[in-house]
C-alpha cells in the first residue's frame, strides 16, 4: 500500500468492521442465552402443570392412572413439548405421544442441557425430580435456530455495509488528516533559491504537525543562511579580485594607447592583457559554477520552442564553423515547449560546438541534432574528431580537466563544467559518449518538456535580489 491515505482508509475500515463484528458476536451469545433461558422457563411451567395434574397423591398411583392424567395435558401441548417420565432403576413410565416411544437422551448429573432426538431434531431439555419420578421435558430448538440464523444473516449484511461505508469514510478521513502534511509538502516544494524566504505556515495549536512544520522552517532558515552566505562570499571574492584586475588592465591599456612602447614591450603588454582577460573570465566561470552547485543561483526560465531557440543562434554557430572551414549540419525533429533560460543555454551550445570545432580535423563536419520526444528534448553535438578514451567521457565535465592539450590551446577546462551546471539547473542531464559509429565524440543533453518540468517543480523563476 503506497499511499498513507489508502492505509488510513484500510485501517479505519478494518477496525470499524472488526469492532462491529465483535459486538454482533456478543449479541449472538446474549441472544442465545436469552432464548435458552426462555425455553427453560417454558419447560419449568410445563413441569409445574404436569405435577399439578398428577396431584398430591401421585406416589401411590398406578402407571395407568398416571398415564391417563398426564396424557390429558400433554396431548394438547404435544406440539410444544416432549415429555418422558421414568423411575430411576425401574425404567420408563411414560412417553408423550409425539416421542413415539423414543426416549429423550439423558445426560447424567445434568438437569438442563441440549439434546438431539433422531427424527425430531434438537431439544432444550430440563430434567425435574419429583421422587420417585424423573420428569424430563424437552422443547424443540428449531425456531430458536431460525431466529439465530436470521440474526447472523442480518449481521453479515450489516458488516458488509459497514466495511464499505467505513472505507469511504476512511478515505475522507485520510484526506482531512493528511491535508496539513500536503500543505507542508507544497510549501517545501515551492521553496527554491529564488524564494528562500517562503515558510510553512504554522498552526496556532501545538501538535505533532506544527512541530514538524517548525522543524522544517528552522531547516529552511539554515539553508537560507547558507545561500546568502554563498552569495555574499562570491560577491566579495569577485570584488576583491576584480578591482585590482581593473587597475592592471587600465594601466596596461594606457601603456598601449600612449603609444611609446617598443616592439618587444608592446608584445609583453598585449600578452598581459590577453591573460588578464582569461583570468577575469575564469573568475566569472568559477564563481558561476560554485553558485550553481550551491543552487544559489536562479534561472530566468521561459517556455520556448527549442527549435525556434536553436534557429535564433543557428547563424552564429554557422559563422563560427564556416570560419574554421568546417561544415555544420543541423537536424530538427518533433515539436514541443521547454522551459529554458536562453542566455545560459546558448552558452552551453556555444561551448559544445567550440569543443567540437577544436576537436575536428580539417574539412571535418559537426552535426547538431535536436529532437523533441514524448517527455524530453534531446540535443546532440557530434564531431569527426578523435573522440575521447572510455574513462575520459565522464571526467571531461570536471573543472579544469583538459586532455591532450595542443600548444595553441587557450582553454581553461571549465567549459564543460559550466555546461553541466547550466543543464542541471534546468533539471536536465548532460552526457558524453563515443559516436555510435565509433568515429568522434558525441555530447548530448536532455531537458524535460515544459509540462513535465512544471510537474517536477521547475517553475519560471523570479529573479531575486542577490544579497
Amino acid at each position: 500500500m503506497r499511499s498513507i491515505r489508502t492505509r488510513i482508509a484500510v485501517w479505519y475500515a478494518l477496525s470499524a468492521t472488526v469492532t462491529l463484528a465483535i459486538l454482533f458476536a456478543a449479541g449472538y451469545v446474549l441472544l442465545e442465552n436469552y432464548i435458552d433461558h426462555d425455553l427453560d422457563l417454558l419447560n419449568r411451567v410445563e413441569f409445574e402443570q404436569i405435577r399439578a395434574r398428577l396431584g398430591r397423591d401421585y406416589h401411590a398411583l398406578t402407571p395407568d392412572i398416571i398415564d391417563r392424567r398426564i396424557r390429558e395435558t400433554t396431548n394438547y401441548a404435544s406440539v410444544l413439548f416432549y415429555i418422558n417420565i421414568n423411575i430411576p432403576g425401574h425404567g420408563m413410565l411414560f412417553y408423550s405421544s409425539n416421542l413415539a416411544g423414543r426416549p429423550i437422551p439423558d445426560i447424567p448429573r445434568k438437569h438442563i442441557y441440549n439434546a438431539s432426538v433422531p427424527g425430531i431434531g434438537g431439544l432444550r431439555v430440563a430434567e425435574f425430580i419429583a421422587p420417585p419420578f424423573d420428569i424430563t421435558v424437552g422443547t424443540p430448538t428449531r425456531q430458536m435456530h431460525q431466529v439465530l440464523r436470521a440474526y447472523v444473516e442480518v449481521s453479515l449484511a450489516l458488516l458488509a455495509a459497514m466495511l464499505l461505508i467505513s472505507a469511504g469514510l476512511g478515505f475522507g478521513l485520510g484526506d482531512v488528516v493528511l491535508r496539513p502534511v500536503r500543505l507542508i509538502g507544497q510549501t517545501a516544494s515551492r521553496i527554491r533559491s529564488d524564494n528562500l524566504d517562503a515558510r510553512i505556515p504554522v498552526a496556532g495549536v501545538d501538535n505533532e504537525l506544527s512541530d514538524l512544520a517548525k522543524l522544517l522552517n528552522q531547516m529552511f532558515d539554515r539553508i537560507e543562511g547558507a545561500f546568502k552566505q554563498m552569495r555574499v562570499f562570491t560577491a566579495e571574492v569577485s570584488h576583491e579580485l576584480k578591482t585590482p584586475l581593473s587597475l592592471v588592465r587600465l594601466h596596461a591599456e594606457k601603456l598601449l594607447t600612449d603609444g611609446n612602447l617598443q616592439g618587444r614591450s608592446e608584445e609583453a603588454v598585449l600578452v598581459q592583457l590577453e591573460e588578464l582577460g582569461r583570468v577575469s573570465r575564469m573568475i566569472d566561470e568559477l564563481l558561476f559554477i560554485s553558485r550553481a552547485e550551491a543552487h544559489a543561483l536562479s534561472l530566468r526560465l521561459l517556455p520556448r520552442n527549442p527549435h525556434e531557440f536553436l534557429r535564433s543562434i543557428e547563424g552564429d554557430l554557422r559563422a563560427l564553423c564556416c570560419h574554421r572551414g568546417i561544415r555544420l549540419d543541423i537536424a530538427y525533429a518533433g515539436a514541443g515547449s521547454v522551459a529554458i533560460d536562453e542566455q545560459r543555454l546558448r552558452q552551453v551550445l556555444f561551448n559544445l560546438v567550440n569543443n567540437a570545432l577544436d576537436a575536428s580535423p580539417p574539412r571535418g563536419g559537426v552535426r547538431l541534432c535536436s529532437s523533441v520526444e514524448q517527455t524530453r528534448w534531446c540535443c546532440r553535438v557530434e564531431d569527426d574528431g578523435p573522440g575521447l578514451e572510455d574513462d575520459q567521457y565522464e571526467k571531461a565535465f570536471d573543472r579544469f580537466v583538459r586532455f591532450g592539450r595542443a600548444p595553441t590551446d587557450t582553454g581553461s577546462g571549465l567549459g564543460l563544467a559550466i555546461c553541466r551546471s547550466i543543464i542541471e539547473l534546468h533539471g536536465g542531464v548532460i552526457r558524453a559518449m563515443p559516436r555510435p559509429d565509433g568515429r568522434g565524440a558525441c555530447f548530448c543533453f536532455e531537458l524535460p518538456l515544459a509540462d513535465a518540468a512544471m510537474g517536477a517543480g521547475v517553475a519560471p523563476a523570479v529573479t531575486a535580489l542577490a544579497h
Binding site: 591599456e253 594606457k254 598585449l270 547563424g315 563560427l320 570560419h323 546558448r346 556555444f350
Partner: protein, 219 residues
C-alpha cells in the same frame, strides 16, 4: 560635464579621475557612501559612476536612496558582480547602465557617452561614412552605391560601429551589446572578418582597425 565617481579603491578612483579628466570631464571623487552623499549635497552633477562594494555600505542602497528622493541623473554601476541577478537588481533600482569589472577606460568612456546622450540625442535614421550608407529604417546597407547583403547580426555590429565612428570599442562592450551574456572568445573576430570581407575593398585603407587585446575601431 561633471561626473561623480564613487569608488573605494583609491588608486582606481585616482585613475578614473585622471582618465576622465583628460577627456574634459570634471570629476569629483567619493570613497564612501557618506562622502558620496556629501558630494551630492554640495553640488549637482551630470552623471554618477557608482561602485557597489563600498566600505560603509552597498552602492545599491545608495542608489535606492537617491532614486527615492527624486535624483534623476544617469547612474552607471561599476561592479565586480557580474551575475545577471546583480545586473537586473541594479537596473531595477534605477541604474541606467552596468559595467562589469575589469573594464577598460575606452569602455567606460563609451558607456558614459551613451549615458549623457541618452536623454538628448535622437537616433539618426541614416548614417553615411566613407562610402558606406547605413539605412536604419529600411535595414539596408550600401557600399559605394552597391547594395550589400548583411545578416541581422552583421547589421547590428555595423550599426554599433557607425554610431561610434573614430572611437575605440572594446571587445566586451561590443559583445555585451550584440551577444549579451555570451562568453565566446572567437565569435566577435569571426564576425569582424565577415564584415571586412563584405565592406572593405582591396584598394582603400582598412575600414576597421584592430586594437589587439583591446577591441576595434572604425576609422
Amino acid at each position: 560635464m561633471k561626473i561623480l565617481v564613487v569608488e573605494d579603491q583609491p588608486r582606481l578612483g585616482e585613475f578614473l579621475r585622471q582618465g576622465l579628466g583628460e577627456r574634459a570631464y570634471t570629476v569629483s571623487l567619493a570613497q564612501t557612501c557618506a562622502q558620496a552623499r556629501d558630494a551630492l549635497c554640495e553640488s549637482s552633477c551630470d552623471a554618477i559612476i557608482l561602485d557597489l562594494g563600498l566600505p560603509d555600505g552597498d552602492g545599491l542602497d545608495l542608489l535606492r536612496e537617491w532614486r527615492r528622493c527624486g535624483f534623476n541623473e544617469p547612474v552607471l554601476i561599476l561592479s565586480a558582480r557580474d551575475s545577471v541577478e546583480d545586473r537586473i537588481s541594479g537596473l531595477d533600482l534605477g541604474a541606467d547602465d552596468y559595467l562589469p569589472k575589469p573594464f577598460s577606460l575606452e569602455e567606460l568612456l563609451a558607456h558614459v557617452r551613451c549615458l549623457l546622450r541618452r536623454h538628448s540625442v535622437v537616433k539618426q535614421a541614416l548614417i553615411e561614412h566613407r562610402g558606406i550608407r547605413l539605412d536604419l529604417a529600411g535595414h539596408t546597407v550600401r557600399a559605394h552605391g552597391q547594395p550589400v547583403d548583411l545578416t541581422s547580426r552583421e547589421f547590428a555590429l555595423l550599426e554599433l560601429f557607425m554610431q561610434n565612428i573614430g572611437r575605440t570599442l572594446t571587445r566586451d562592450f561590443i559583445s555585451d551589446r550584440i551577444w549579451p551574456g555570451l562568453v565566446d572568445t572567437n565569435l566577435l573576430d569571426v564576425y569582424m572578418s565577415r564584415l571586412r570581407a563584405k565592406l572593405e575593398d582591396s584598394s582603400g585603407a582598412p575600414l576597421f582597425r584592430t586594437l589587439r587585446g583591446i577591441g576595434y575601431q572604425m576609422a
